[in-house]
C-alpha cells in the first residue's frame, strides 16, 4: 500500500509553472481562481478529462488540499457537509461522463437545501463535443434543472471571470450549487489575457434592502396578536440570523418552532421553543400552528413535510411570510403580508422598530398572550415527546438521548435520511445554527457519512457525529477509507434495526404490514467492515453497554464505526400521515401491536 503522506512529501524535480509555460494554462487559471476565492479544501476524483486540472492541483498542493473520495457522490456530499458546517462555498471536482453523473445526486441535494457549492466537471475536448465521445455526457443539460447557475466554458479566456462569478452566484442571496463544465482542451490551453465578464449579474434577490414600512406593519401585527407563532427555517441558518431571531422572539415573548432545516437556528431547549413542527414535529408545535391567530414565517418555504394538507395548516391565522426568494412567497400558501428580504436583515429591522416602541405597548402585548402561553405550557406538559426506554433492547430514541448526554449536546450532528434522522431531530437538542446537518429537501440516503467527513474538515474544533441507518450507511460507506486515509476523526453511529425503517413504518401503518423489500437483516458485519477499512468498529446491543461503548468510541482519535443494534420495529411518533392535517396526528403506537 502506498503511503499517502509519504507520497505528498516526495519532492519530485518539478519545474516551476512559469518555466513550462509563459502564459498559464486553463487548469492553473482554475486552481488560482479557487485559491483567490478562499478555497483551501477540494473533494474529488480524477479522470481523463480533468488530467490537466489534477496536474495543477498537484502543483498547488501546498495551497489547496485535495481529498480523494472513492465515489463522486461522496465528493459532492462532503463538499455539502463542509459548506453546511462552515457557511463557506464547498468545492467538488470530478471528471466527465460518469464522474459528472455520479455527482448529480449531490448537486440536486444542494439545490433543494440551498447549499453553496461550486462543482467543477471535466468535459471531452470541444472538438468532439456532440460526437458521443468516450466519457461524454451533456453535463450542462443533465444538471440544468438542479443548479442555481451553470457554465460550459468553451474559451479558456472566459475561465477566470467564470470562476469568480460562480462563487458569487453560489454564495449570494439564496445560495445554491453552480456547475462549471470544462472541456479538456480548455484546461490545457494557455491564456495570455482573459476576457472581461460580458454581462453583469442581475440578482432577483435583495441582499440587504428591507422595506421598513412593511416591517413596521409586521411588528404592529405581532404586537396585537393574541396567539402568534414564529415558524422559522433554513433561511435563519443561511443568513446567520440566530442572534437576531432570539432578540426579536424574546422581546415579543412569542413561541418559536423550527423546521428540520431550521434546527439549531433557535435553541431547542429554550423556554420559547416548541420543538420542531411538521410531519414528525411535536404535538405542541403542530397544535400551536393549528390554533394560532398569527403565523410569522421567516426563511421557510411551506414545504409539504411541514404543512401537510395546506388547507388545514394554520387555518385561522393571518400569515406573514418573509423570505429572500420571492418565488417562495405564495408558492404553496398565500400570505396576507409578505416581505422579500434576507432573514437577518429583516430581523435587524424588526429589532430596530421594536426599540422605538414604548415599553407599555410591549408590556401590554406580553400580557395579552398569557392565556396563549398557559395553553402552550399545558400541551408541552401533557404531550411531550416520548423517549422510549427498555431494559432489554436499545431504543433508538434513547440512543440519541444518550449521545446527547455523552457529548454534552455540543457535537455537530450529521444525519442520513429516514427514521434515525427524525429521532435525531427530535431528541438531539441543538443549541447552535449549523449544528444539525441533514438532507432535508431531497432526502438523500447516503448523504450522512460523506457529509460528516466534510463537516469535520470544515470544523476541526468540533466533534462531528454521523448518525445513519443501516440502509443509508451502505449507500456511501466506501468513504470510510477516505476518512481513514486523511486521518479525519469521523464518528459514525449506525442505528441498526435491520430494516429500511421509515419505509417499513409506512408499510406497517398504511399498507397492512406488508413488509415489501425492506428487510436488511442480511447485512455485512459492520464491526468487521470497519476493521477492514482500518477503522475502529464497536458494537452495542444491550442498553447496559451503550454508554460505555459510545464513550470509548468517541474518545478514539481515529475513525470509529458504531454498530448500535436497536429495537427492530420502533416507529417515529408523532406522525401526521402524508397529505393530511395536524388534526390527524398519530401520537403513539396503536393498541394491539
Amino acid at each position: 500500500m502506498r503511503d499517502v503522506a509519504q507520497l505528498r512529501s516526495t519532492t519530485l524535480p518539478v519545474p516551476a509553472v512559469e518555466e513550462i509555460h509563459a502564459a498559464p494554462r486553463g487548469a492553473e487559471i482554475l486552481v488560482r481562481g479557487l485559491i483567490k476565492n478562499g478555497v483551501d479544501t477540494v473533494f474529488g476524483l480524477p479522470g481523463g478529462a480533468v488530467l490537466h486540472i489534477y496536474d495543477a492541483i498537484w502543483r498547488f498542493r501546498d495551497e489547496i488540499t485535495h481529498y480523494l473520495v472513492r465515489h463522486e457522490q461522496g465528493a459532492v456530499h462532503a463538499a455539502e457537509g463542509y459548506a453546511r458546517a462552515t457557511g463557506k462555498v464547498g468545492v467538488a471536482l470530478v471528471t466527465s461522463g460518469p464522474g459528472a453523473t455520479n455527482a448529480v445526486t449531490g448537486i440536486a441535494d444542494a439545490y433543494m437545501d440551498s447549499i453553496p457549492l461550486v462543482v467543477i466537471t471535466g468535459q471531452v475536448p470541444t472538438a468532439v463535443i456532440g460526437t458521443d465521445a468516450f466519457q461524454e455526457v451533456d453535463t450542462f443539460g443533465i444538471t440544468l434543472p438542479i443548479v442555481k447557475h451553470s457554465y460550459l466554458v468553451k474559451d479558456v479566456r472566459d475561465l477566470a471571470w467564470v470562476i469568480d462569478e460562480a462563487f458569487e452566484i453560489a454564495s449570494s442571496g439564496k445560495p445554491g450549487p453552480v456547475v462549471i463544465d470544462i472541456p479538456k482542451d480548455v484546461s490545457g490551453l494557455t491564456c495570455e489575457k482573459g476576457n472581461e465578464r460580458r454581462n453583469e449579474l442581475i440578482f432577483a434577490e435583495p441582499e440587504q434592502y428591507v422595506d421598513r414600512t412593511k416591517i413596521a406593519k409586521v411588528v404592529d401585527k405581532l404586537l396585537v396578536a393574541k396567539q402568534p407563532v414564529f415558524y422559522v427555517g433554513g433561511g435563519i441558518v443561511t443568513s446567520d440570523a440566530s442572534d437576531e431571531l432570539m432578540k426579536v422572539a424574546q422581546t415579543l415573548q412569542v413561541p418559536v418552532t423550527p423546521t428540520l432545516m431550521g434546527l439549531g437556528g433557535f435553541p431547542t431547549a429554550h423556554s420559547l421553543s416548541l420543538g420542531m413542527l411538521g410531519m414528525h414535529g411535536t404535538y405542541t408545535a403542530n397544535t400551536a400552528i393549528q390554533q394560532c391567530d398569527l403565523l410569522f414565517a421567516i426563511g421557510v418555504r411551506f414545504d409539504d413535510r411541514v404543512t401537510g394538507k395546506l388547507a388545514t395548516f394554520a387555518p385561522n391565522a393571518e400569515i406573514i411570510h418573509i423570505d429572500i426568494d420571492s418565488s417562495n412567497i405564495g408558492k404553496n400558501k398565500q400570505p396576507h403580508l409578505s416581505v422579500v428580504a434576507d432573514a437577518k436583515a429583516a430581523l435587524v429591522a424588526m429589532s430596530a422598530n421594536l426599540a422605538e416602541r414604548i415599553e407599555a405597548e410591549i408590556g401590554a402585548s406580553h400580557e395579552s398572550r398569557l392565556a396563549w402561553w398557559r395553553k402552550i405550557d399545558e400541551w408541552k406538559a401533557s404531550v411531550p415527546l416520548v423517549c422510549e426506554q427498555s431494559e432489554t433492547e436499545i431504543k433508538p430514541q434513547s440512543l440519541i438521548e444518550t449521545l446527547h448526554r455523552v457529548t454534552n449536546g455540543e457535537a455537530i450532528i450529521v444525519t442520513d435520511v429516514g427514521q434515525h434522522q427524525m429521532w435525531a431531530a427530535q431528541f438531539y437538542a441543538c443549541k447552535d445554527a449549523r449544528q444539525f446537518i441533514t438532507s432535508g429537501g431531497l432526502g438523500t440516503m447516503g448523504f450522512g457519512l460523506p457529509a460528516a467527513m466534510g463537516a469535520q474538515l470544515g470544523r476541526p474544533d468540533k466533534q462531528v457525529i454521523a448518525i445513519v441507518g443501516d440502509g443509508g450507511f451502505q449507500m456511501t460507506n466506501q468513504e470510510i477509507i477516505t476518512a481513514v486515509q486523511y486521518g479525519i476523526p469521523l464518528k459514525v453511529v449506525i442505528m441498526n434495526n435491520g430494516y429500511l425503517g421509515m419505509v417499513r413504518q409506512w408499510q406497517e401503518m398504511f399498507y397492512d404490514r406488508a413488509y415489501s423489500e425492506v428487510d436488511l437483516s442480511v447485512s455485512p458485519d459492520f464491526v468487521k467492515l470497519a476493521e477492514a477499512y482500518g477503522a475502529q468498529g464497536l458494537r452495542a446491543s444491550n442498553p447496559a453497554d451503550l454508554m460505555e461503548v459510545l464513550e470509548k468510541g468517541l474518545s478514539h482519535p481515529g475513525v470509529t464505526i458504531f454498530d448500535i443494534v436497536v429495537s427492530k420495529e420502533e416507529n417515529v411518533f408523532p406522525i401526521i400521515p402524508a397529505g393530511l392535517g395536524s388534526e390527524n396526528m398519530i401520537l403513539k403506537q396503536a393498541n394491539g401491536k
Binding site: H149, N199, K331
Partner: protein, 175 residues
C-alpha cells in the same frame, strides 16, 4: 381559472440560457403555447416572448421563477399593461389560375396579407397580425386547399416608455 398570458423575458444572449428558461417551464409543469426569440437593441441581450396559460398564481410563479435565473434581466407580464402583440404565419395554399386564385387574392386584400411566392400550382402567403386575425385568415382559407402553415408564435412589446412604467408601478403599489 386558466387564462392565456404573454410574457417577455430579457435574457443574456449566451449558449444555454434559452434552454434554462424552457427547462424551467417543463420542470415546474408550466406549458408553453408559443415561444419566439430574437436580439434586442443591445446585442448581448435577447428577448423571448412566451405565450402560456395558467391561473393567476401559476402565472405569478412563472414570472418569479424566471426572474430568479442569473442571466435574466427582466421578466414582464406584458398582458398586464398596454402592449402590442403580433404573430406571423406563412401559408402554403393550392391556387391554380382562375377563380381559385382570385378568391385568394380577395382574402389577401381583405386581411392585408401578402403573396410572397407563386407558381402554377400554389401560392405562399404571408400574414401578420394579432393571433385572432391570423386564426381567422387561415380559417377563411380552409375551404380552399391549404397545404401547410408555419406560425412564428407571438412577439410583443410594451407601449409604455420606461418612465411611464415606473409611474404605473408606483400607482399600483399605492392602490
Amino acid at each position: 381559472m386558466a387564462n392565456r398570458h404573454t410574457l417577455t423575458i430579457t435574457v443574456a444572449d449566451e449558449a444555454g440560457e434559452l434552454s434554462r428558461i424552457v427547462g424551467l417551464f417543463s420542470a415546474r409543469g408550466y406549458g408553453i403555447e408559443t415561444i419566439s426569440v430574437g436580439k434586442t437593441l443591445e446585442s448581448q441581450w435577447s428577448r423571448a416572448t412566451i405565450v402560456t396559460s395558467g391561473d393567476e398564481r401559476t402565472i405569478e410563479q412563472i414570472v418569479k421563477q424566471c426572474g430568479r435565473l442569473a442571466r435574466v434581466r427582466e421578466v414582464k407580464l406584458i398582458t398586464s399593461e398596454p402592449h402590442i402583440e403580433r404573430e406571423m404565419a406563412l401559408i402554403d395554399v393550392s391556387a391554380k389560375a382562375g377563380a381559385e386564385r382570385q378568391e385568394i387574392m380577395n382574402l389577401v386584400a381583405i386581411f392585408r396579407a401578402k403573396v410572397v411566392d407563386i407558381s402554377h400550382e400554389k401560392m405562399i402567403l404571408e400574414m401578420s397580425g394579432t393571433r385572432e386575425k391570423v386564426d381567422t385568415f387561415i380559417e377563411m382559407l380552409k375551404p380552399l386547399e391549404v397545404n401547410d402553415v408555419t406560425r412564428s408564435g407571438s412577439v410583443a412589446i410594451s407601449r409604455l416608455s420606461p418612465f411611464e412604467r415606473i409611474a404605473e408601478v408606483a400607482v399600483s403599489a399605492k392602490a
